[in-house]
C-alpha cells in the first residue's frame, strides 16, 4: 500500500514537472523575416530640366512607419562617359495625402544618349544601383487638320521613340444641382492613344478623336455613380512621356495588379522600383464653346449649381430628386 502511494506521488511529481515544462515553452512567431534588398527607388533623369528628383524608400520591417522613417542613404549618379560623379541631397517631403517620405535632389541636366549609373548606399555598405540611358529629345507637333475635334499629332524621329504615355487628358466637370457649389464633381480622365501610332513620312502620326473619347469620359463619371446629364469640359491636354528604352513593362501593358508584385518591373540591382530617364511633352488643346458642344459637352446648363440654384427650374427638380 505504502509502495503504491509512493509510486502515485512520484507519477504526480513527474506529471507536474511535465506540465510546467510544456507551459513554459510558448513559442513566439516572427512573420517578418527581413529583406536583403535595402531600398525601393522611383525616379527618372529628365534631360529637359536641370532639377532632378529621386524617391528613396527604405524596405521597412514596420508596417506603420513604412516610408516615413529616416533614410540612411548616400545617393550619387555617375556619368558613365566622363565618370563625373554628382551627389544628391536629401529632402523630407509631406505628400498631399499627409504621409511623409524622403526625396533626393540634384542640380544638373542629363545629356541625351549618355548613360548614368545611380548608386544608393547606406552606412552599412549595402548598395543599390541602376543604369539608365537618356533618350533623345524628339519633336512632336500638332498637324494642321480640317477638324479641330480630331487633331493629328506628328512625331518626327529617326527611330520610333519609347512612348510610355500618350494620353488625352480631359478635365471634366459634372454639374450636380444643389444648394452648394461643392456638388460639382471634377475629374481628370486620361484616354490613352499609346500604341495607335501609324508610320508617316519621316515619322509617325497619331489620329485623335474627341467625340469617341466623350463616351469614356461619361463612363468614368458613371463608374462612381455621378449623374452625367450635364457634363462640362474645363480643359483638354495631350500628354506624352518619352522614356528610355528599358521603360517597357513586361507584356507591354502597364497593368497595375501585375506590376504591383515587387521585382516584376525593375532595373534596380539589389533593390526594388525603377530608375529611368525620360521627359514629358504636353499640348493644350483650346476648344471653343461651339466645339465643346459638338463633342457632346454641355454649354449652359439650365440648372445652375451653387448659389444660383433654383429648384423651381424643372431640370433642377428632376435632378434634385435623383440625388
Amino acid at each position: 500500500m505504502k509502495r503504491h502511494a509512493s509510486l502515485l506521488s512520484r507519477i504526480g511529481l513527474y506529471f507536474c514537472a511535465a506540465l510546467l515544462t510544456l507551459s513554459a515553452c510558448t513559442e513566439s512567431v516572427h512573420p517578418i523575416i527581413g529583406d536583403e534588398r535595402p531600398y525601393t527607388i522611383y525616379g527618372f533623369l529628365d534631360p529637359t530640366t536641370s532639377e532632378q528628383y529621386l524617391r528613396v524608400i527604405p524596405v521597412s520591417e514596420d508596417f506603420n512607419t513604412v516610408s516615413s522613417q529616416d533614410v540612411d542613404a548616400q545617393v550619387h549618379t555617375v556619368d558613365l562617359a566622363t565618370d563625373e560623379r554628382v551627389a544628391w541631397s536629401k529632402q523630407r517631403i509631406l505628400f498631399p495625402d499627409s504621409t511623409e517620405g524622403y526625396v533626393f535632389a540634384a542640380q544638373f541636366t542629363p545629356i541625351v544618349a549618355r548613360s548614368y549609373r545611380l548608386e544608393v548606399e547606406n552606412s552599412e555598405g549595402e548598395r543599390v544601383s541602376a543604369v539608365t540611358t537618356v533618350p533623345p529629345v524628339i519633336s512632336i507637333n500638332r498637324m494642321a487638320s480640317n477638324s479641330q475635334l480630331n487633331p493629328i499629332f506628328f512625331i518626327e524621329a529617326d527611330a520610333f521613340p519609347n512612348i510610355v504615355q500618350a494620353d488625352f487628358v480631359y478635365e471634366a466637370v459634372a454639374l450636380q444641382p444643389s444648394m452648394s457649389a461643392r456638388a460639382n464633381y471634377t475629374l481628370e480622365i486620361p484616354v490613352s492613344y499609346r500604341g495607335t501610332e501609324s508610320p508617316s513620312d519621316g515619322g509617325w502620326r497619331i489620329q485623335t478623336r474627341m467625340q469617341n473619347d466623350f463616351e469614356q469620359v461619361k463612363e468614368a463619371f458613371a463608374g462612381i455613380c455621378i449623374i452625367t446629364d450635364f457634363l462640362g469640359l474645363r480643359s483638354v491636354n495631350f500628354e506624352f512621356f518619352i522614356g528610355d528604352d528599358n521603360w517597357v513593362p513586361p507584356g507591354g501593358e502597364f497593368v497595375r495588379d501585375i506590376l504591383l508584385q515587387p521585382g516584376s518591373f525593375s532595373n534596380v540591382e539589389n533593390g526594388y522600383g525603377y530608375f529611368g530617364s525620360g521627359y514629358s511633352v504636353t499640348f493644350s488643346i483650346p476648344l471653343t464653346s461651339t466645339e465643346r458642344g459638338l463633342v457632346g459637352y454641355a454649354l449652359d446648363p439650365p440648372c445652375q449649381a451653387g448659389p444660383g440654384f433654383d429648384p423651381s427650374v424643372p431640370e433642377c427638380r428632376e435632378l434634385n430628386a435623383c440625388l
Binding site: L19, T26, V29, N64
Partner: protein
C-alpha cells in the same frame, strides 16, 4: 444540342435501371421466400440497431444465415428456400429472442418483436454498443460514431458534442477554439456535405470550436465519410458527415436540464400517443458572455445556440414517419479589434424536413421518401452596417429504395434539388458584387452492396448528375471490404463533383465569412479519391487500423496573390492533391478505454494565375495551403476511479503554413512621367514565397471528471474539468502586418451540472 443529348442519356440510364431491377426482382421472388422483421427496444419502443439475427435450419440445427438490424431495426433474409427455420436474435445486454418461422415459396413472412434488457448484462450493453463504432473502427474512410463515443472526449459541457469528437479524428484540421471551420483530409469547409436526417446544414459548427449543432442528447448515429463515400451522396468534394437524430421515447416522458459556464440547455421528450407518436426537443444557448468571460483572461464576444425538434410517428413497425427541424444561430468577432467598427460574423441555419420509411406488406423493397428545406444566412459587418451577405436556400426531395437479394442488397434512388443563392459583397469579390442565382439539379444513383462471399463485399456504384447550367455528369464509385478473422482489408474510390463554391479568403483565419456562389468560371470543381486500409484486432481488447488516402482535386477556386496589404478576393483556379496515412489504435479494458490516433498529411495546391510566369518564373506555382497540418496526434483516455469518470485528451498538431513577410515599401505605377514629390505611392507588402512559413506546433491537454448520482426519478450529474491544463499559448491568428496575435483559449476551469430523467 449537348444539353439535349445529356438529357436523353439520363433518361436512357434510368429506364434501363428500372427494367433491370424489376426483372431481376420479380423472377427471384417467384421462386424463393423472404423472412423479415423489425426489432424494437422494449424500454422505449424504438428500433434496435445492430441486433444479430440468425436463421437456423430447424432440421439440421446449422446456422444458416446471419444479419444485423439496420437503423430502422429492420432485418431481411431475402431469397431463401422455403422451409421451417429457427430465428434467433441476440444483442449483448438484452435477453435473446427465439421463434420458429415457417415460410413457403413466394411468401414474405414478417416477424416483428421487442427485446428487453437484463440488468445483469447492463455493463455488457455499454461495451457492445460502443464496439459497433470505435476510434479505430474505420472502414475505407467511413467512421461511425454513437453518442456514447462522444463521452470519451473532455469538453466544457456536461452534454458531449459531436464537434469535440470529430476534431480528435486524424486528418481533420479545425480552426481551433473558435471559427467553426473543419478541413477534412485536404478538403475545405465548403467541400463537406453535412446532413441531419438527410437535410443539408451548411454551417453547423458553432463559433466556439467545442460545439456543433449536434449534441449527444439528440444523436442516434453519425457516419463520417472522410472520402470515397458511396453513391447516395453527391454534390460535395471532400467528405460527408451524415448525422441521424434519435427519436423521442415512445413509452416514457423524460428530459434534462444542464448548466455550464459555456452552454446551458434543456431537453424534453416523450410519447404523445404511446407506441405511436413521440416528440423530442432540445434547446441550447451559450453562457459565455454571462459566465465564462467573467473568469477567463480573454475576451470571448460570442453568442450562439440551437434548437432541435423531432416528431416520430410509428404507424406500424413497417411504416414510420419523422419530421425534423433545426435552427442555429452564431454571432462573434474573431479579432482583437475592440473599436466600434470591429466587424463580426453572424450566421443562422434553418432546416426542416420529413421522411417516410415504408416496407410494403407484399414487397421486398424498402422505401424512403423525403423532402427538406434548408437555409443559411451569413453576414459580416459592424454596428453601423452589414457589409457582406451570403444566403443559400435549398429544397430537396427524393426517394431511396433498397431491394434485398440474398445477403446482398441494391440501393438506388433519385432526387431533385433546387438551390437558390444570393450574395451581396460590396464589390469585395471579383465581379461578384451582387448575385442571385438558382441552380436546379437532378441526381440518381444505383449502389449495389454485393456479398460475393461471406468474407468479401463489393459495392460498385454510379451516380448520374444533371445540372441545368452545366450538363450531365457521371460519377463512378466503388467500395471493397474483405474480412477474415481478425483482419480486414478495405478500399474505396470514386469521382466527385461540386457545383457550389464557398469563397473565403484563407489567408486570414479570422475571416470565417463564406460566400456561397455558383462555380465562378463555369467550371465544376471535381476530385478523384482513392483509399486503402487495413485493420486488425490482435486481441479482444485492442484494435489497430492504418489507412492511406489520396485525393486529386481539380479547378479549386482560391484567391489571387496581391502585394497590397488588403485581403484579395480576386479568384484564380488551382488544382491540388491531398495524401496521407492515418494510424489508430484503440484499447478497451474493463476500466480503461483509450485510443491514440496519428495523421500524416501532405496537401499541395498548384495555382494557375496568369502572372505567375512573370513573378515566379513558372506558370504553375505549388504551395502548401494554410490547412496543411502535416502531423497530428490525439491521445484520449477514459477511466473510472471509484464513482468518478475521468477523461483526458492530449492533442498535438504541427504548425500550419502561412506566408511570411520580407518587409514593406511603397508602390508607384510607372505608366507616365511623374513628380516624385507629389506621388506618395501605395503601401506594399513584400511577401516571401506563398505559405513558406510555418506557425508553431499546437498542443494542449484537457481533463474532465464526472460523477453521476442516482435519484429517485432520474440522475444528477456533476462535471468539473480544465481546458488547456498547462496553459499553452496556442496561436489562433496572427496579423503579419501589425503583429497582432490572438491565441486559442488559455487555461479554463469549468463546472457543469445536469439533471436528467
Amino acid at each position: 444540342m449537348q444539353r439535349a443529348g445529356d438529357r436523353a442519356a439520363l433518361i436512357r440510364m434510368l429506364f434501363l435501371l428500372g427494367i433491370l431491377l424489376s426483372g431481376t426482382l420479380s423472377s427471384a421472388m417467384a421462386q424463393r421466400a423472404t423472412v423479415r422483421g423489425f426489432i424494437m427496444d422494449d424500454a422505449d419502443g424504438l428500433p434496435l440497431q445492430g441486433v444479430n439475427v440468425v436463421l437456423t435450419d430447424s432440421t439440421q440445427g446449422e446456422v444458416f444465415l446471419g444479419r444485423v438490424t439496420n437503423d430502422n431495426g429492420l432485418f431481411v433474409f431475402a431469397q431463401i428456400n422455403p422451409g421451417t427455420y429457427l430465428l434467433r436474435a441476440s444483442f449483448v445486454g438484452f435477453l435473446p429472442h427465439e421463434e420458429t418461422v415457417q415460410v413457403q415459396a413466394g411468401q414474405i413472412v414478417t416477424v416483428n418483436f421487442s427485446m428487453s434488457t437484463s440488468d445483469a448484462l447492463l455493463d455488457e450493453v455499454l461495451i457492445e454498443s460502443a464496439r459497433e463504432t470505435g476510434a479505430a473502427r474505420v472502414t475505407a474512410g467511413l467512421q461511425s460514431v454513437r453518442p456514447g463515443d462522444l463521452e470519451l472526449i473532455p469538453s466544457p459541457d456536461i452534454t458531449p458534442d459531436l464537434a469535440t469528437y470529430i476534431t480528435a479524428m486524424p486528418g481533420v484540421v479545425s480552426t481551433g477554439d473558435r471559427g467553426g471551420q473543419l478541413f477534412i483530409r485536404g478538403g475545405e469547409p465548403s467541400h463537406n456535405l453535412i446532413t441531419l436526417d438527410g437535410m443539408s446544414v451548411y454551417q453547423p459548427f458553432h463559433v466556439l470550436g467545442f460545439y456543433s449543432s449536434f449534441s449527444a442528447d439528440m444523436l442516434s448515429k453519425v457516419d463520417i465519410h472522410s472520402g470515397g463515400y458511396d453513391s447516395r451522396f453527391s454534390g460535395r468534394l471532400s467528405s460527408v458527415i451524415d448525422v441521424r437524430s434519435r427519436n423521442g421515447n415512445l413509452r416514457q416522458h423524460g428530459g434534462s436540464i444542464s448548466l455550464s459556464p459555456f452552454v446551458s440547455g434543456v431537453r424534453l421528450e416523450g410519447p404523445i400517443a404511446r407506441d405511436k407518436f413521440s416528440v423530442l426537443g432540445s434547446f441550447r444557448h451559450s453562457m459565455i458572455d454571462q459566465i465564462a468571460s467573467q473568469y477567463i483572461a480573454q475576451d470571448l464576444p460570442y453568442k450562439f445556440g440551437d434548437w432541435f425538434g423531432k416528431a416520430y410517428v410509428q404507424l406500424t413497425e413497417a411504416n414510420q414517419i419523422t419530421f425534423t427541424a433545426l435552427h442555429t444561430f452564431d454571432r462573434g468577432a474573431l479579432t482583437n479589434d475592440n473599436s466600434d467598427t470591429e466587424e463580426e460574423v453572424q450566421w443562422k441555419n434553418t432546416a426542416m424536413g420529413g421522411r417516410w420509411h415504408l416496407l410494403p406488406q407484399n414487397s421486398s423493397l424498402l422505401g424512403e421518401f423525403y423532402f427538406s428545406v434548408s437555409r443559411l444566412e451569413m453576414t459580416q459587418g459592424n454596428n453601423m452596417q452589414t457589409n457582406r451577405l451570403s444566403e443559400i436556400r435549398e429544397f430537396n426531395a427524393g426517394i431511396n429504395l433498397t431491394a434485398f437479394a440474398g445477403p446482398s442488397e441494391i440501393n438506388y434512388g433519385a432526387y431533385l434539388k433546387s438551390t437558390e443563392l444570393n450574395v451581396e459583397l460590396a464589390g469585395l469579390y471579383q465581379s461578384l458584387e451582387n448575385l442571385t442565382s438558382r441552380i436546379p439539379k437532378f441526381g440518381s444513383y444505383i449502389d449495389p452492396n454485393i456479398h460475393v462471399t461471406p468474407t468479401f463485399q463489393i459495392r460498385p456504384g454510379i451516380t448520374g448528375l444533371f445540372f441545368d447550367d452545366y450538363g450531365f455528369f457521371v460519377e463512378p464509385r466503388a467500395r471493397i471490404i474483405w474480412s477474415k478473422g481478425q483482419h480486414q482489408l478495405t478500399a474505396a474510390g470514386g469521382l466527385f463533383h461540386q457545383d457550389l463554391t464557398g469563397l473565403n479568403d484563407r489567408r486570414d483565419v479570422t475571416n470565417v465569412f463564406t460566400a456561397w456562389v455558383e462555380a465562378p468560371f463555369d467550371k465544376l470543381t471535381r476530385a478523384w479519391h482513392a483509399i486503402a486500409g487495413y485493420k486488425i484486432e490482435p486481441t479482444n481488447d485492442i484494435e489497430i487500423s492504418i489507412e492511406g488516402f489520396y485525393k486529386e482535386l481539380y479547378d479549386l477556386y482560391i484567391s489571387e496573390w496581391t502585394a497590397l496589404p488588403v485581403l484579395s478576393t480576386n479568384l484564380q483556379l488551382a488544382d491540388g492533391r491531398a495524401k496521407g496515412i492515418d494510424f489508430r489504435i484503440e484499447l478497451r479494458k474493463p476500466n480503461l478505454h483509450a485510443f491514440i490516433t496519428y495523421g500524416l498529411t501532405f496537401i499541395e495546391y498548384e495555382a494557375t494565375q496568369e502572372s505567375l510566369l512573370l513573378w515566379y518564373g513558372t506558370d504553375r506555382l505549388k504551395f502548401r495551403p494554410p490547412h496543411d497540418r502535416r502531423h497530428q496526434i490525439n491521445a484520449v483516455a477514459n477511466t473510472t476511479l471509484g464513482e468518478f469518470d475521468i477523461s483526458i485528451r492530449w492533442s498535438l498538431g504541427s504548425g500550419l503554413p502561412y506566408t511570411q513577410v520580407r518587409g514593406f515599401d511603397r508602390f508607384i505605377l510607372l505608366d507616365r512621367g511623374f513628380d516624385v514629390r507629389e506621388v506618395p505611392g501605395d503601401v506594399r507588402v513584400i511577401y516571401d514565397e506563398p505559405y513558406g512559413g510555418e506557425l508553431p506546433y499546437f498542443h494542449r491537454l484537457d481533463i474532465s471528471i464526472d460523477r453521476t448520482f442516482e435519484l429517485k426519478k432520474g440522475t444528477f450529474s456533476i462535471q468539473g474539468g480544465v481546458i488547456n491544463v498547462y496553459n499553452r499559448a496556442n496561436i489562433f491568428s496572427l496579423d503579419t502586418f501589425t503583429l497582432d496575435r490572438v491565441d486559442q483559449l488559455p487555461i479554463v476551469p469549468f463546472v457543469g451540472l445536469k439533471l436528467e430523467r
